[in-house]
Symmetry: C2
Subunit: 464 residues, 2 copies
């Protein structure tokens, strides 16, 4: 006998067994459904690309930690995000497809970073973008997509009250527009310091205003007074209108500030008119997403409210999961590959963060089956009838599994229970004689006989 | 200005722009829906694995042409199929999950083969399997899943008559059971020659009976008479019952043959009782899927009927696309990694073949948008109303895209036409005054005014 091979996976990689994969697929399907409903079209690109395409000519490997290797004579690597492949894709396909072009792309990416708790070397990104237009309508739509995505995932109303430390739980899309800060810097004669200012300002939630002020002076070369004014702007609180009114009052004479404020105001007004839930989109001038890449609207999405930690019982803030959907507007997507200028706006759903938060909130049922109904194989000779009734349910959109062996009923029900089925259907000789089925509620441990003709409706009712 | 990077993709790889990706996603979603409806649960595994895990210890690279490389000190490779990762996965997870275990797995695999027309180095597999049981019920269910998958994809009735050279078009699941041939070999005292016999028999459709007979004698060492009898068995024609009756008459005394015939008969009877469409499952003793791997039931699925080739006008047979869903029963999935014996049965949907066939039949609408409704941005100041009506449709499951700029209507409609939207909604000042919308059918070039209150129903009706 040959020696067994240890069935190990690479460090930083993981399997997804059903209880992890079922909620992931549910999230991915909600994302696809919402993206499509707005007319974003799916695309896919290869997992492997030329390293030159991913990093730029002579590009340093930066801190991407590529999975990079030689294949025959080609220097190739696994993609580390979906943005660079989208840029490369756009250079080739957009001339034919035309603009505006709206696409979504869901898929795995790979980074050889040191694995940490909750961070893997292989993970999925779920991006959507509109390119080829500078219209604020696209920025507004981006916020609406995030809004509908969160509502579609059940994050508008947190119904799992038993897990709730309080009832104030909801999502909040925080928006800002880089034009506001850039306008302020222009007013202060420090326009060219935008990048380092943003990088330090991004640390505000982590290290606080005082340290940011010190770092900003050191790293961006602004004065103490300038740092104070920047931090004061970022720290403005109040209702959306209050904040925007104040910015306009203080700096509205600057064209950039005026445009930023106008775009923010239009986003709020159109979203409200379009039917977005009140209070879900809020102005937050402190968000800046450190990246130099963004040039206009910026989005971050938080779950807000508190919850009781499963292990410690401690009350924690949902915000600590971080932004679950982030993005922004950029000036030019694909300048590395084409002369066609492609401004755009988009965002990315943080699948793993969202799953972690939803799990913590008890929103993910722990099941190992995607089907709610289990059909017991009571008599082997009746297999055709069991599959017949299962197909009847399947045709009505209700998943139904027939056990493959006519084992003892107790054994079959133990299997059904372990997998997480909700209902079991049982029919033996007596039931066939009476033309009836026994519906057993596996959680409630109750059961009831139902005529064959009423079975589908009875099952539907119990699954509601 | 820096030099542009050529936006090329690796040889044998390809992008999926919307018009390719939209039908792919539709197929993948149908597969997920049908697999789930039977209780198969989704899993996923890493794209990268230890080479040792993929190939076995000291395993030759065979002709897999792995994408293999060193990452730090690890010898790693991209998975070349989903079966080996499933075996590795099962060794780890099945002890905890229990059996029977039903899983599906959709995902990309990579092979460095020489690229050919229609064959790529990166392609998707769509597998489903039941492991941990030898019950024929699992074999039967496998056929039912394939049946429901084909029906779900619209391959039961070919409604695109304009593309049809004749009307006899349907899918056919061809089944065989290795036990029948193995029993015959046993009867002939040639049981140990099973593998080379199967390998040569597999060439029957390509090279014909005479050449197979010659090869079989040369390669499997059977006599001319034995080869003749094997080929005669494989070539039996007639109705399902006729074929099985004849096999039983001739070789039913052999226990293996008897069991093979019994399992085939039960599959036919249970499928019929369960409501499978008549004539869709047919016995074909010639199919053998060359692989040594399979030990019992075998499945191949063909589209049958003819069609007129787009370019040449020539009448071609749909069968030439090859089997679009194939599989079988095996004795032990994961013997490389665990001592737990895991017999199973499953099949794999041939996504690319099926897409090619459906495209040839004109079953894939050529659109670059997943949304059917286009909303013209007539007046920028009404953007909130346009998004409001679009969200009304989205809430009813109808995708609707709002154009981001208030450009000339002709320009907007040209965009909508190019993308493949079905309906355009238009409302200018007069329409808002009358509280109505213009619905424009983009294909028929007809239009109609509809009161706001009836809009959703009117759109739904036109999309039916």
């Amino acid at each position: 006998m040959t020696e067994l091979i240890q069935p190990r996976v690479l460090k930083g990689f993981r399997d997804y067994p059903p209880e992890l994969m079922i909620p992931r697929e549910r999230l991915l399907e909600t994302a696809r459904r919402v993206y499509r409903s707005y007319g974003y079209a799916p695309i896919d690109t290869p997992a492997l690309e030329f390293t030159e395409v991913l990093l730029g000519k002579g590009g340093a490997e930066t801190d991407r930690q590529l999975f990079r290797f030689k294949h025959h004579d080609d220097d190739v690597a696994l993609r580390f995000d979906l943005t660079v492949p989208f840029a490369r894709f756009s250079a080739t396909h957009v001339p034919k497809l035309g603009t505006p072009f709206k696409r979504y792309h869901l898929g795995p990416v790979w980074r050889g970073e040191r694995p940490q708790k909750g961070r893997y070397r292989e993970f999925w990104q779920c991006d959507f973008d509109t390119i080829g237009t500078t219209a604020n309508a696209a920025d507004i739509e981006t916020a609406l997509v995030i809004h509908d995505l969160m509502v579609g995932l059940g994050l508008e109303q947190f119904t799992h009250a038993e897990k709730a430390a309080n009832r104030l739980k909801r999502f909040e899309i925080r928006i800002n527009n880089r034009l506001v800060l850039n306008g302020l810097l222009e007013v202060m004669g420090a326009a060219e310091k935008s990048a380092p200012v943003l990088r330090t300002l991004d640390k505000l939630p982590k290290i606080g205003a005082e340290k940011v002020a010190v770092e900003m002076q050191a790293e961006a070369g602004v004065s103490a007074d300038q740092a104070r004014r920047i931090i004061a702007l970022a720290g403005l609180t109040g209702g959306n209108d209050e904040i925007l009114d104040q910015v306009e009052r203080d700096f509205g004479g600057n064209a950039k500030v005026a445009e930023g404020v106008a775009r923010l105001r239009e986003l709020l007004a159109v979203s409200a008119r379009a039917g977005a839930a009140p209070g879900r989109i809020v102005i937050d001038l402190s968000i800046c997403r450190g990246l130099d890449y963004y040039t206009g609207m910026i989005y971050e999405t938080f779950l807000v409210g508190s919850y009781a930690d499963d292990e410690s019982g401690e009350v924690k803030q949902l915000e600590s999961f971080g932004s679950v959907c982030s993005g922004g507007r950029y000036d030019n997507l694909a300048s590395l590959y084409t002369k066609q200028v492609l401004p755009g706006v988009g965002a990315s759903l943080g699948l793993d963060r969202l799953l972690a938060a939803m799990e913590e909130l008890g929103m993910l049922p722990k099941v190992a089956t995607p089907a709610p109904v289990f059909v017991v194989q009571f008599e082997a000779s009746r297999l055709g009838d069991y599959q017949r009734v299962a197909r009847l349910l399947r045709a009505a959109g209700i998943g139904a599994e027939v056990y493959p062996d006519a084992k003892k009923i107790g054994q079959q029900l133990a299997y059904a229970d372990k997998r997480g089925f909700k209902l079991a259907l049982i029919a033996g000789p007596d039931d066939f004689a009476k033309n009836q089925w026994i519906i057993k509620d596996l959680a409630a441990q109750s059961q009831e006989a139902v005529p064959q003709s009423e079975l589908k409706d009875a099952v539907e009712k119990r699954l509601r």
